[in-house]
């Protein structure tokens, strides 16, 4: 899909992979948690970070930029209407406005994709989607 292709082109693939995996954890999407995005793997994604993603806030493996983006992603998933200037300001300490726009749009695409997958599998019982 064009939206996903452009999302991965617009955002640092390692940061976006961390956000994708964290979204999958929050939504309980095991298939998305198990797979890795080719762009992130090619960019040297650190598997140790995936193992510590549940405690990104206090793990020394994560950079300040990664923490700000993960906090942004969590707020987006849990209650996007509660997003504040503090949330975006923390990201803007590390990313440009254009990069933040890209991150927000990419997270929208990833979050929507995973929610749709889960809805098809669990609510509609679509056998073509793994639960």
């Amino acid at each position: 899909m064009g939206l996903h292709r452009e999302s991965w082109a617009a955002v640092d693939p390692v940061i976006l992979e961390l956000c994708r995996l964290r979204i999958a954890m929050l939504l309980g999407d095991q298939e998305e948690q198990a797979r890795r995005s080719p762009g992130a793997t090619a960019a040297g994604f650190d598997e140790a970070k995936a193992g510590e993603l549940a405690r990104w806030a206090d793990s020394p493996r994560f950079s300040a930029a990664e923490r700000a983006c993960l906090a942004f992603a969590e707020q987006f998933v849990v209650q996007v209407s509660g997003m504040t200037e503090a949330d975006t300001g923390a990201v803007l300490e590390h990313l440009s406005p254009a990069q933040l726009y890209g991150l927000a749009t990419a997270i929208l695409a990833l979050d929507g994709h995973q929610r749709l997958r889960l809805a098809l599998a669990r609510v509609l019982g679509d056998p073509g989607v793994a639960q």
Binding site: E6, S7, S81, M83, T84, E85, D87, P97, L100, A106
Partner: protein
């Protein structure tokens, strides 16, 4: 609800017109998002009234005023 500007606005175009965030910052990504949303709106599986109710519910959840 939070009405604060969350992503800084880009500077206006040379002729003074406002430019959307997407056009200014990530034109390819914004075009892909527009194409995706256009395709969703054109889906015909649901009747127009139900589609509009879902759209408005999503807009309220996302605090979207456009």
């Amino acid at each position: 609800m939070n009405r604060a500007r969350r992503i800084p606005l880009p500077p206006p175009s040379p002729d003074g017109k406002r430019i959307s965030l997407g056009t200014a910052y990530q034109p390819k990504l914004a075009a892909a998002l527009d194409a995706y949303q256009d395709a969703v709106v054109l889906l015909a599986a649901l009747d127009p009234v139900t589609t509009e109710l879902v759209r408005l519910r999503c807009a309220r959840y996302h605090d979207c005023h456009t």
